[in-house]
Assembly symmetry: C2
Homo-oligomer: 95 residues x 2
Amino acid sequence: MSERRTDLVVVGRKPVLRYALAVLTSFNRGSTEVVVRGRGRSVAKCVDVVNTLRNSFYRDLRIEDVKLGTDQLVLGDRTVNVSFIEIRISRGGRS
Amino acid sequence: MSERRTDLVVVGRKPVLRYALAVLTSFNRGSTEVVVRGRGRSVAKCVDVVNTLRNSFYRDLRIEDVKLGTDQLVLGDRTVNVSFIEIRISRGGRS
């Protein structure tokens, strides 16, 4: 099985460990890569999730790519720009 | 002059535009690269700074590298882990 399976975990308001657990579950189910995505205030939490995984669960975690950008949200009659981050991670030993 | 000059802008509690201005000033003074660094809650602000620069000032801004990690802060008798981000940017047309 050399196919690539990428999963997406969107980080929101729940505690960091919830999202870390979601990533763990995804890897255990066979994902080769997981993209951790968050926007606005959750950007910082995304970084926390990845660091928690690296420090506590996967020593061999690899950050494949980090993408930064802006989402335009339409709220009623105005548009706001919100920064987002997408961190693509994999487990080094496996790839 | 093909030497490389890298400047560091540390993002803290001031408004986003302050840091964007600091980066602008650094490029105007001849830096080839600027590292925008923040930790904890400022991680999200770092991303805002880079997006503001890209959307409003430098269309040709290039994100060279993004580094994520954990700083260990000693506060009194306990140690806390704080996530940080370092975004290395350059002006595409110049390099």
